[in-house]
Symmetry: C3
């Protein structure tokens, strides 16, 4: 199992969510985060000097999925989260050792959905 973490623009969320549903993803968590990226001006001054702190509001989506589904989900994200402008965001893939459904105590891939 893998955890897919993706940082996306809030404006693409509705389309991304639908695309993920069509890929069979019916469980995910959405968190509002403050994003810092190339989009935000680099800052040279430090400690006691003036500087500009800038954030972009982004959404972080987290979903644990079967290994077999990872590539299809990446493709769906690349299609529906992209605007072509700087700041479209990232996809990160992390290993997951176990997943458990609290209601039934099931473990493993059956517990994901």
């Amino acid at each position: 199992m893998k955890k897919i973490e993706t940082i996306i623009r809030p404006s693409v969320f509705a389309d991304v969510r639908q695309a993920l549903a069509l890929e069979g993803i019916d469980g995910l968590s959405v968190t509002e985060i403050a994003g810092i990226g190339k989009q935000e001006g680099r800052v040279g001054l430090f400690r006691g000097n003036a500087y500009t702190m800038e954030f972009s509001p982004k959404l972080k989506l987290e979903m644990v999925v079967d290994d077999d589904k990872v590539e299809d989900i990446i493709q769906a994200l690349l299609e529906y989260a992209s605007t072509g402008q700087v700041g479209d965001g990232k996809i990160f893939i992390l290993p997951v050792e176990e997943a458990i459904r609290i209601r039934t105590k099931e473990r493993g891939v059956v517990a994901i959905g």
Copy 2:
């Protein structure tokens, strides 16, 4: 070391937090997330068509623990986070390579608590 991420109902948080304290867990992070799960209606329509976007407010708890404690914490979560209704949530276990306590610069299992 492992990271335990669990998505739970806000209503069970107080009991879960107490159960974790009894297991010796005195460090964790709590985040409010917007959850999408089987609980929320599956959506068939797409792009330009009407659809219902639904979320359930959930809490994400994150804690890094010693490998030896993982199973006891899973059992505590299964006991105190479960209501038996759809939407009770998940437990995910991820590998952690290093932990550092900022105040003392200690590393490894001693840095967790």
Copy 3:
């Protein structure tokens, strides 16, 4: 690639952010979390009994970086996030299998920045 997750005091954020920029980190996500740590009183009573629930507002910073940068970033965090008081927070290092820049579809270390 590694994911660095660090829980810090909000009061040190501006200095930490600057120190990270000087290390070449120009992408990260910031989330407000409710922290529970040694700082907060341990609770002995349970279920139906009175107890004190206490949180400290903390910031969680998440950044995916090249393996080569991990130790320098840890050192920057240890220097700028530390006040010497209980509650300075933690650094956790997790493995990352893939990173993808949504705009260009680039993968791997080139996709991080």
